[in-house]
Symmetry: C2
Subunit: 349 residues, 2 copies
DNA sequence: CTTCTGTATGCAAGCGCTTGCATTTTTGCT
DNA sequence: AGCAAAAATGCAAGCGCTTGCATACAGAAG
């Protein structure tokens, strides 16, 4: 086969390579590569010629090859518990948008709240050549952290801020946030509280939130016995059932704090079913301040969480870290208790 | 440097390669590669030896290299309008879980409902070596489709089913679904309708839904003049405003169909603010049947959409296509009108 | 006109893996 | 035991790109 033939056949076959561009513009592949990656190192004249060839051939770099040669993929990974929880999806959206701004793409994996699965996903993303990783919360197997360390993988923990943890994180102090909310509740005279939370095993966020409630109670000299905690999976339906369970306690709590707005919405619905008026008979609060909080009746008192800022901030920190500038300190973002109708004064007994 | 030194230095340096494994287990790199990819082509005995080496060295394949050599990345891409809409996030979750089952990872991009941005994202994902692509809806630039064609990229359109479109899709018939819902509404005596929808430009799903309402009205010999359509961005707040706008029409509609549950929830909230009772004074319906539908008061009549099945089905079809078996026909999944309290008989005039 | 700098470009060696083909070993028969 | 066929393994050529170093060539300086 003549060189001539070869060329035309290749052109026909489709996907042009660096070499095709080099040939078309009469320079070496090295120059083309530089044109694309360090334009300033190439004469304006050749650059124009090369770019023209790139355009006419419809050339697009092969990232696998680039990654192999340059040891950098331009891909960041994120492992979230689940995308079903809108909260993580929103954070990811922000993360993704910021990354896109830097020409980085997002590889997504979900752990279903399982540390083992998460470890597997971390392995997968590392193997896939992720340049950096976004993780949710601090709780995970030591093996996972060892892996991250060993591969010197830039990574950040979001959705949590815990100064006692050494690794880089961006988020809020779940404990403090929940303590503030609980304090608002106690201020209104409630003395027996219920908490509906997602599983606390392997989940520092939920654990901290429950601890926050305890903190608030302790500060008011209430006994831990006055707190009723029920764990349940995510969902409005499960929230409803958990609420019912709590309401069966004797004496029953006068306020129920839920770990997120969806659980709270379920609780609200169940309260209605049970003929309990909110907040007259019982107060209910949510967490996250999603749209749901304003949609339900009565509107939910909740805690506004900086999802967007966490996602975007995490992206920025990781981008910087990848270029060698690892931020010194974790970033604490603030939350805000948003008071709405679902929280009222404790009923007179 | 002696071979001995070299080995130990490499071990020290970290990331082991196929060659390290080959050396450690006394076979060729080809055998190791086969061990990992086509285990059945290797003796059990050697396999055991190789796997042992893999384990002790903590070897993990470099996917960039693999992709480069095998022309297959094991990465599928998905471009959704946004992750902020829980509906897409849920579908993606299903998609992702199914992919994970096949050892495939998910690259996510969002288009923010912009065809230009989407085209860019398609380019990016192709360059990134995605083996297949998941897209939402049929509307996009011809250039995007040309690109897909040219690169022979397996792709599927989800969230829509339109037999008149040639390309592979999995979803439901938005028009038919909405027509069914609208028919239910008309059956209850409503003769003037309002529709709150997301932008219809570049969005076949919303366009079809509005068309579905028109279909239903036409079937009952109602004039198009009796339909009031308002476009608005996604969000409860915007839904509320759109509802207010519609309620200012004279004569005002007695039922308002919303393109999704969030908009409907906003409408419901606004109705309350305006002192309108739902469904006595005005009926409201949603779409998607998310948890929100059951959370609000009154509960929303909505259309249940098979998000999970779409995500999972799309993954399956793409996996098959990648292996050469492109499904012949698009798949139509069914929806279901879920009647709840927000829809009632038209008020007596 | 030569020598020296500095900049633009080319050369070619990989990056770590897969895979077609060649070679060796094993298996099943006679 | 001897042979062909089948199975297992090895060889080595890439896959498309980046990048350290060598080379070429420009203009400045002598």
């Amino acid at each position: 086969m003549t060189e001539q033939n070869k060329v035309s056949l290749e052109a026909e076959a489709g996907v042009p390579t660096l070499e095709d561009v080099a040939r078309a513009s009469g320079v070496s592949t090295a120059t083309v590569s530089r044109c694309l990656n360090e334009p300033e190192r190439v004469t304006e004249q050749t650059r124009a010629r090369v770019m023209e060839a790139v355009r006419s051939l419809g050339y697009a770099p092969n990232f696998s090859a680039r990654a192999l040669a340059a040891k950098r993929t331009g891909i960041f990974g994120a492992i979230v518990p689940t995308l079903e929880n809108a909260i993580f999806a929103k954070g990811l959206q922000a993360f993704q948008e910021e990354l896109a701004r830097h020409g980085i793409t997002l590889l997504v994996a979900s752990s279903s709240y399982s540390p083992a699965l998460e470890e597997e996903q971390v392995r997968a993303l590392i193997a896939r050549g992720a340049d950096a990783l976004l993780l949710i919360g601090h709780d995970r197997t030591p093996e996972t952290y060892a892996l991250l360390e060993q591969r010197q993988m830039p990574h950040i923990v979001a959705w949590a801020y815990d100064p006692s943890e050494a690794r880089l994180s961006i988020g809020f102090d779940n404990r403090k946030a929940m303590k503030r909310l609980a304090t608002e509740v106690l201020l209104r005279g409630h003395a027996r509280l219920g908490v509906i939370t997602a599983a606390v095993a392997n989940n520092d966020r939920t654990r901290e939130r429950v601890a926050g409630v305890r903190d608030a109670m302790a500060a008011q000299d209430l006994s831990p016995d006055d707190l009723r905690v029920v764990e349940t999976p995510y969902g409005a339906e499960t929230g409803a059932r958990a609420f019912e369970e709590i309401m069966r306690s004797d004496p029953r709590p006068t306020a129920v704090l839920c770990a997120n707005d969806v659980l709270a919405a379920g609780a609200l619905a169940k309260a209605r079913d049970l003929g309990l008026r909110v907040p007259d008979d019982v107060s209910v609060t949510g967490f996250d301040d999603t749209e749901i909080a304003q949609i339900v009746t009565p509107q939910l008192t909740s805690v506004r969480v900086p999802h967007w800022d966490m996602g975007q901030g995490a992206a920025r920190l990781l981008v910087a870290w990848r270029s060698g500038e690892r931020a010194k300190d974790s970033i604490e973002l603030s939350t805000e208790v948003v008071l709405r109708g679902s929280l009222g004064a404790a009923p007179q007994e």
